[in-house]
Symmetry: C4
Subunit: 293 residues, 4 copies
C-alpha cells in the first residue's frame, strides 16, 4: 500500500516535470497557434469546399480534446491547487466552453471557442510579462474607476430624467432608459460624434440648455480620466525611479560604511597606541621618581 | 445655568461622537446606495405599477427627511463651523434642492435630486481620497485654463466676425453668435468632426481661407492642452519623486551624521590623550631639568 | 546742450519708471479687458440700437489710440531696443493692424483687431509665466515637428499621385492637389472621421489598397506624435527632477564637506601634536645622552 | 601587384573621405530638397505646360542617376559592409524602385519615387537623431504590440463569426471577412465614429448584445494602448533620470573617495608617528634601565 503511494507520488512528480516542461509547453503553444490560424481560415467556410471545412473542424475538435487532456493532467498533478491560479481558471473556462454542444447559437459558441487562443497571453513568457503587468496595474485604477462609474450612473439617471421623456425615436435611442443613457454618456466621454450625434439631437428635441449638462459632464469625466492616466504614469515611474536611485545610493552607502569602518578601526588602533604610550610614560616617570631619591 | 451649559456641552460632544461615528456613517452610506438604486429604478416609472412607483417615491421622500435631520444634527453640533467645510456646503445644497416643491419643472428637480448620490464621493473614504486628489490638482491648472479660456474667447469673437455674418442656417448654428462660436471652437478642440461638420461648412459658405484659421486654432489649443497635461504629470511626479529620494537620502544623511559624530568624539579623545602625553613629557623634562643641576 | 541731454535722460528715466510702473500696467490691463468685453458685445451689432454700436465703436477707436500712444511712449523710452523684445513686436503688430483703414474687408480687419486682447497673455504676470513656458517648450519640439512635416509632405505627394487623378469630386476635394492632400492627411492624423470620410471614399474611387497607405501613415504619424509628446514630458520632468534631487544632494555634499574639513583640521592638529611629542622625546633623549657621559 | 593594391587602398580611403565628407553630404541634401520640391510641383502636371513637365521629369531622372552613382561609390568603398547599415538598405531600396520602368502602374511608381525624399531623415543630422530615437523606442513596444495584435486577431475572428453571417451590405463591409473585421476593430480602437458607423449598424442587423462585445474590446484595447504609452514614457524617463541623478552621485562619490583617501593617509602617518614614539620611548626606558644599575 505504502509502496503504491510512493509509486503514485513518483509518477506524479514525473508527470509534473513533464507538464511543466519546455517540450510540453512548446507543443501546446504550437497547437494554439495552428488552431488560431485554422479558426481564422474557418471564417471563410462559405467559400471553401465542404471537405476542407470538415477536416479543419475535425482538427479543431482534436485540439479541444488535447486541451481537455492537458487540463485533466494538471488537475491530476495539482489536485485542488489547480484552482488557486487565475490562469488555470481561465484555461478551464475557455476550454470548457468548447465542450458545450452547439445548436441554434452555433456562431456564438464558435466565436467563444476563439477565446482559447488568448491562452497564448500567459503561455508565451514575453506576453505573460506584459499581461501580468497590465493586471497588476488594475488595482491601482480601482478607486478612480469607481468614481467614474458613479459619475456615469448619476449622469445617466439625470439624463434619462431630463431627456428621456419624449416621443422622438432618435432621442429615445440615446436616452430612453438607464443603460442607453450610460452608453450615450460613454460615447460623449470618448468624444466621438458627441456634438451632432448626441447633444444636438437632444437640443432639437426641446432642451436648449442640454449643452451645459454635457459640457459639465465632459469636463468632469475628462478630468477624472486624465487623472486616472496620470496616477498610472506616476505609479509606474515612482517604482522604477525608486529602484534606480536606491541602487546607486545603496552602493554609495555600502562604500561609505566600509570607509567609516576602516577609519573606526584605525582610530581605535591609534587610541590603543596612545594609551600604551601614556602608560609607558607614566611608568618612566614612576621609575624616575624611584631613581630620584 | 452653568450646569445647563455643561449638560449641553456634554450632549453636544456625545452627539458629535455619534454623528462622526462609524455606525452613523455606514447607515448614511447604505441609505445613499439604496436611494441611488431606487432613483435608477424610478427612471422606468412609466413601465411600473403605480403602487410601486408610489412606495418608492415615498421612500425617496423619507431619505430626504433623514438627510435633512442629519444636516440639522451637524448644524447643531458644529454651529457655524459647519459651513467652513466645502463638503458640508455640498451636502447642504444637494439636500436643499430636494426640498423645493416640484411643479412644472418636475423632471429637472428629480434630475437634480440624483446629485445627492454624489455625497458618496466624500463619505466613502476610498473615493474621498480620489476626489480630494482631483480637487487638489485644480489650482495648478488655473493659469493654463485661464489662457485656454482667453484663447477660446478671442477665437470666438474672431470666428463670429469672420463667419457669422451669413444667411446659411448651418453656419449660423455654428458661428451665429458668441456662445455658439465658443461651443463650435470647443468642438474643434475635441477634434470631433472638426473638418466636415465645422470647417467645411464655413468654407462652403464662401470662406476659402477658413481652414487656416482653424488649423492655427487647433495647433495653439492642442499645444496648450498638451502642456496643461504635462504640467499636471510633472507636478504629481515631482512631489512623489522628491518624497521617494529624500527618504533614502535622509537615511544616509542620518547614518553619516552618526559616523561623523563618532569619529569626532574619538578624535577629541585622541587629542586629549595627546595633550596629556605632551604635558607629562614636559613634566618629565622639567623634573629632569631639576635633577640635572 | 549737455544740460539738455541730461534733462532728456532724466525725463526719459522718469518716463520709463511710469511706463513700467504698476499703475500704468493696471490701467492698460483694465483697458484691454473692457475692450475685450466690448468687442464681444459688438458681435451682436445687428441686434443693438445703432447709437450703442456707434459709441462702442468710438470707445474701441479711443482704445486703439491709447495703445498707439503707449507704443510711442515705449519707443521714445527704449529707442531701437524696443524691437529687441518679441512681445513688443507682438504689441506693435496687433495695434498696427487696427490702424489699417477698413473697406470691403471690414469683417476681417475687425476680426484681427480682437488679437490685441491677446496682449493680456504677456501683461498679466500669471498668464505670462504660462505663455513663456509654452514658448520655451517650442524649440524642443522643432526637430520632431520637422520630421512630422516631412512625413506629411511625402505622404501628401504620394496621395496626390495615387488618388488625385480622378473625376470623383469628393476624392478631388480630399486629394486633388498638394495642399488638399496635406490637409486630408492631417485630418487622418487627428483620427477624425478617417475611415468613412476619407479612406472609404478613396477605396470606392477604385483604390482597393488605399487602407494600407493610410494605416501605415496613421501608425508612423501617431508614433511620431506620441514621441513628441513623450519628449516634452521627459524634458519637463528631467529638469524638475534634477533640481529636486540636486538640491538635497548639494545640502548633503555641503554638510559632508564641513565634516571632512573639521576632521582634516583635527587630524592636522593631532599630527602637529605628535611631531611636537616626537621632537620633545628626541630632545629628552639628547639631554639624557648629554647627561650620561 | 602589392603596389597596385596599395594604390587601390589609397584611392579607396580618399574616396571614403570624399563620400563621407561634408561637401558631398550637403550636395546630396540639397539635391534631395530640390527633388522634393520638384516632385511636389509635378503633382500639378495637368495644369502645367508640357515643356516644363518634361524638363522637370528630366531633372528627376538626372537625380535618380546621381543617387545611383552615389550608391555605387559607397558600394565600391565599403564593399559588402555597405549592407550592414539599415540606412544603406533604405537608400538602396528607395533609389532602386525609381529604376523600375513605369508602364501602366505609372502613378504608383511615381508615388514610390517620392519615398527617396525620406532619405533626409538620416542625412540631416538633426532629423537623424529623432529618427534613431524613434527606432530605438520600437523594440520596447514589441511585446505590447504583439499582445494588441493577438487581441485584434481574436476579436476579428469572433466578430466575423458573430456578425459576418448576414446579407446586410453595410455590415458585410464592416465584418464580412477577417481583414474587414480587423480593420473595423482598429477603427473602433481609434474611437472614430465607433458608435453610429460601426456598433449601431451591427445592432440594427439583429445583434442586440453587440455593444457589450465592443465595449469590452474598447476597454481592453484602450487599457493596453494606455499601458504601451506609459511603458514608453517610463522607459524614456527612467533612462534620463538615472543619468541625471547618477552624474551627481558619481561626483559626490568621487569627492568622498578623495576625502576618505586623504583621511586614510593622514591616519597612516599618525600611526607611523605613534609607533615611532612608542619605540623611542621604549629605547629611552631601555637606556634608562642601562643607566640605572
Amino acid at each position: 500500500m505504502k509502496q503504491g503511494t510512493l509509486d503514485l507520488e513518483t509518477s506524479n512528480s514525473r508527470l509534473e516535470t513533464f507538464v511543466e516542461g519546455k517540450l510540453f509547453r512548446n507543443f501546446i503553444t504550437t497547437l494554439i497557434i495552428v488552431n488560431a490560424i485554422i479558426l481564422g481560415i474557418l471564417t471563410y467556410d462559405r467559400m471553401m469546399p465542404p471537405g476542407l471545412v470538415g477536416s479543419m473542424s475535425w482538427f479543431d475538435q482534436a485540439v479541444t480534446i488535447i486541451f481537455c487532456v492537458e487540463i485533466l493532467l494538471k488537475l491530476f498533478v495539482y489536485r485542488l491547487n489547480f484552482f488557486r491560479s487565475g490562469w488555470n481558471w481561465f484555461d478551464f473556462l475557455v476550454v470548457g466552453v468548447s465542450l458545450i454542444p452547439g445548436g441554434a447559437a452555433f456562431s456564438v459558441l464558435r466565436a467563444l471557442r476563439v477565446l482559447r487562443v488568448l491562452r497564448l497571453l500567459h503561455i508565451v513568457p514575453m506576453m505573460r510579462r506584459i499581461t501580468e503587468a497590465l493586471l497588476n496595474a488594475l488595482p491601482g485604477m480601482g478607486a478612480i474607476l469607481a468614481v467614474l462609474a458613479l459619475l456615469t450612473y448619476v449622469g445617466a439617471v439625470m439624463a434619462t430624467n431630463l431627456f428621456g421623456d419624449t416621443d422622438n425615436p432618435e432621442v429615445l435611442q440615446l436616452f430612453g432608459d438607464l443603460p442607453s443613457s450610460a452608453y450615450s454618456l460613454f460615447q460623449v466621454m470618448t468624444m466621438d460624434g458627441w456634438r451632432f450625434e448626441v447633444v444636438q439631437k437632444v437640443v432639437d428635441d426641446g432642451n436648449p440648455y442640454a449643452p451645459f449638462f454635457f459640457l459639465i459632464f465632459i469636463f468632469i469625466a475628462s478630468f477624472a480620466v486624465l487623472n486616472l492616466f496620470i496616477a498610472l504614469i506616476v505609479d509606474a515611474l515612482a517604482a522604477e525611479q525608486r529602484a534606480a536611485t536606491e541602487e546607486h545610493l545603496d552602493e554609495i552607502e555600502e562604500e561609505m560604511d566600509e570607509e567609516f569602518d576602516l577609519a573606526d578601526k584605525e582610530r581605535d588602533e591609534i587610541l590603543i597606541l596612545l594609551r600604551d604610550l601614556k602608560q609607558e610614560l607614566a611608568e618612566l616617570r614612576a621609575s624616575k621618581a624611584n631613581d630620584a631619591p
